[in-house]
């Protein structure tokens, strides 16, 4: 994207634009909601948005997925790097989600609620 963001560019790159909007959504969800589950969902949305952005960046229209069936010059394939990286990223996001969810379960056991604001109020040493 160059220079001032004109609408033509934004619409042409709709994946990236969508990804950034999603990122914003996830970010706000993460921060604004008190409910822990919603926070985790927001985190997931945010991460997914970044994955989308990344993968979209790697897409070259007209090219094939990077799996070699018949020999083609490198320019015939989509950029394989982002997809590989994002696989890693997805795995990471899944593990963190799992960890966060298990912690949430423990929190629910101990505090009886999953609302973070209430939990903070309950405090207690």
């Amino acid at each position: 994207m160059k220079g001032p963001y004109d609408m033509g560019h934004l619409i042409a790159n709709y994946y990236e634009t969508g990804a950034i909007i999603l990122f914003g959504v996830g970010f706000v969800t993460l921060l604004a909601h008190g409910n822990l589950i919603k926070k985790i969902i927001g985190m997931n949305i945010m991460d997914t948005a970044v994955f989308l952005f990344f993968i979209a960046k790697g897409y070259i229209s007209g090219n094939e997925a990077p799996i070699i069936r018949s020999a083609k010059p490198a320019s015939g394939y989509v950029n394989p790097v982002p997809t590989a990286l994002m696989l890693t990223g997805i795995v990471i996001a899944v593990s963190i989600t799992a960890f966060a969810l298990s912690l949430t379960i423990r929190v629910y056991e101990k505090y009886g609620t999953v609302d973070l604001n209430e939990i903070i109020k309950m405090g207690g040493e």
């Binding site: 994207m1 160059k2 220079g3 990236e16 990122f23 996830g26 970010f27 993460l30 921060l31 822990l36 926070k39 985790i40 985190m43 945010m46 991460d47 970044v50 952005f53 990344f54 960046k57 790097v81 982002p82 990286l85 890693t88 990223g89 990471i92 593990s95 963190i96 960890f99 966060a100 912690l103 949430t104 423990r106 929190v107 101990k110 505090y111 973070l116 939990i119 903070i120 207690g124 040493e125």
Partner: protein, 493 residues
């Protein structure tokens, strides 16, 4: 290629493999043996690496024999070597100490888990420091996030879970921002390997300066959350207070530092001063660092819980590091890195001794700790030395650190900021000294206390004594370290 070139990778591998191996053996003894011997081996290797780098200069190590930019590379210069030694020294001391203290905090089942997590944590932190590939760094960042949340929650109390959750959420926020930053940089340059990114960025700078500003902003906020830059530090007090003493020591001393090192690398290696110098980022970092230095101390003064106070003190001390980075000069950077060393040794000693005191006396609040100097003179002495170092008493590393910042400030022609440095050290006195004084002096306080009643045996205090010796050593001969750091900075770029 010399032998030591592969050591950084070996260190990380050793630490990770031991972390995976520990759960196989169910016994605590096995966990300890494996964990600590792995740390010991890594310690030795890190020293050898540093010595090698000092002799022969910085080098690139390709992992898997693929050249960059397709393969992942490690770049080991003096700074990275120093960080390696620092991390291994502190973690070895903490692990050693944990042999005696961790049983108090954790249930028997969880102890092996602790050692696993610690090794994972240190390994991933070293990965962040060593790696020259941005995405590789990201992977290590995530591993360290989980591991550091893990060492908070390995103690099974409800405050811990709350604190760990808060930490995890904010940490993920930070990671998400960093990932977005990486994505932005990749979309601009098509590279993930730092020197290559740098070349590309420099050539396309004029047209894309706004994007680069956004990227730097993302990295700043993202890494700032994870390294407790004010005002993004809010997760720190809870996490560091409720975690077991050994965990708090590791969190304050090491975890925060690795992210700062990455930030330094991003500023200087990926973007470079030619770009960053034109953007207002460093001034903002400087400002936030300065505010953090003062606000952290002010908040610490208001605390009643001992560990919480030490935690806020960490926020203040990290403020110094950002202050140094924000100055934008070589001397400022050197002062910041020296402060990293200083704080790592001092804070770990403080947390371990504070943890000892809380464990042995069973009390948490500062007001309950009167006269503890008579009951636990040695532990209190260690705390006192740590506190005095942060206040800036000469012959201790904290004083050298403050002097370095003062010199850096003057060299950068911003003499007004000198006042900030000095005021903040004075503020430190306001919360450390009362503890030391009430601990050792005062008739009312000492009434009814028996000498060395609840003291830890010296054998158990040895690791903390080692850390304190580090504080004194860097206080007396910090010049050597400083010149080493200054020599290593050019290699960062």
């Amino acid at each position: 290629m010399a032998v030591y070139n592969s050591y950084p990778l070996v260190i990380i591998l050793v630490l990770f493999i031991s972390a995976f191996a520990i759960p196989i053996f169910k016994s605590i003894k096995a966990a300890r043996t494996i964990g600590i011997s792995a740390a010991g081996i890594s310690f030795v290797l890190s020293i050898l690496t540093l010595m090698g780098v000092k002799e022969n200069g910085a080098y690139y190590f390709r992992v898997g024999h693929y050249d960059a930019p397709w393969g992942i590379e490690f770049h080991i210069g003096i700074i990275e070597g120093l960080m390696g030694v620092l991390f291994m020294t502190v973690s070895l001391a903490v692990l050693w100490f944990s042999i005696y203290s961790i049983d108090h905090d954790l249930s028997k089942k969880k102890v092996p888990l602790f050692y696993t997590l610690v090794n994972l944590l240190v390994g991933s932190l070293l990965g962040i420091v060593f790696s020259d590939d941005l995405f590789n760094c990201f992977v290590f960042i995530e591993i360290s996030s989980i591991a550091s949340c893990g060492i908070v929650v390995v103690k099974d109390k409800k405050e811990n879970i709350k604190a760990a959750l808060k930490y995890l959420i904010l940490s993920s926020l930070g990671s998400g921002l960093v990932l977005m930053g990486i994505a932005l940089v990749y979309s601009l340059t098509g590279h993930l390997n730092m020197p290559h990114i740098h070349e590309a960025l420099v050539s396309i700078y004029p047209e894309h300066s706004r994007n680069m500003l956004i990227a730097i902003g993302l990295f700043t906020v993202g890494l700032g959350v994870k390294s407790a830059m004010f005002p993004l530090h809010t997760w720190l007090p809870d996490a560091h207070t409720f975690a077991p003493a050994s965990s708090s020591a590791l969190l304050s001393a090491l975890v925060l530092k690795a992210y700062v090192i990455l930030y330094i690398k991003i500023i200087h290696r990926v973007f470079g001063m030619s770009i960053v110098g034109e953007l207002p980022v460093l001034n903002i970092v400087l400002l936030l660092g300065a505010v953090g230095m003062i606000a952290g101390s002010v908040l610490a003064i208001l605390q009643k819980n001992l560990k919480r106070m030490v935690a806020y003190s960490s926020v203040a001390q990290m403020g110094y590091v950002f202050f140094g980075i924000g100055l934008g000069t070589t001397m400022g950077l050197a002062a910041a890195i020296f402060q990293i060393f200083n704080h790592a040794f001092t804070k770990s000693a403080l947390f371990l001794s504070a943890g000892s005191i809380l464990e042995k006396t069973g009390k948490k609040n500062i007001s309950d700790l009167k006269g503890v100097g008579k009951e636990m003179p040695f532990t209190m002495a260690i705390f006192a030395i740590g506190g005095m170092s942060l206040v800036g008493i000469p012959l201790l590393s904290g004083f050298n650190s403050k002097w370095n910042f003062a010199v850096a400030v003057i060299e950068a022609h911003r003499v007004e900021l000198l006042a900030v440095v000095l005021i903040s050290s004075l503020l430190n006195a306001l919360y450390y000294f009362p503890i030391i004084i009430n601990g050792y002096f005062g008739e009312e306080s000492l009434e009814g206390k028996v000498y060395r009643n609840t003291e830890r045996p010296i054998k158990e205090l040895l690791p903390v004594i080692v850390l304190v010796l580090g504080v004194i050593y860097f206080g007396v001969s910090g010049g050597g370290l400083l010149s080493l750091i200054e020599a290593g900075i050019p290699a960062l770029n």
